[in-house]
Amino acid sequence: MSELLDIIGALLLLAGSIFLFLGSLGLLRMPDVFNRIQAGTKATTLGTLLVLIGTAFIHPDWGFKLLLIGVFLLFTNPLSSQVLANAAHRSHVTKSKLTTLDQLAEDREENS
């Protein structure tokens, strides 16, 4: 029984690591800051969550702390990427040439 749980947990760990890998790949390939935030921090959040769940399968007695780490990440991670994106936008980071529309910049122009 615990053998089976171990294998399920290991598979989840593997899935999480693959998401971490894809997130980092996105971080490397994307053309500008906003897209990098998108690919980088989001996919890695899901990856870490999957790693946490997988570990909880392998060691059920660590469950509480893993749950807490997960909750904490779910709260803090989006907040930090929002703040970072906002700061990048305010400091006029060059956007990728592919960007079609930027309504935030338009509205900021109007206000100032």
């Binding site: 290991a10 690591s17 971490l20 890998f21 980088g40 921090t41």
Partner: protein, 86 residues
Amino acid sequence: MAEILIVVAALFSAAAFVMALLRFIKGPSPADRVVAFDVLTIVAISAIIFTALAANRGIYLDVALVYALLSFLGVIVIARFLEKGF
């Protein structure tokens, strides 16, 4: 079986770490580097979890909590610095 899978997973995380580090080295603007820093801390959290699994000690997870807190705070401090908030 399970052990082999875990080792493969750790290798994937290591690849993720290397790519984030590359972005940290390259990153043209400071904001890019901060994103890479954030990803590096998140990958470090999973590295801590792998270490805890390998050493079989549940108490190592407390350190991962501190990391989760620090990645948040660090990014906010630097973001406020970039937008000249202090």
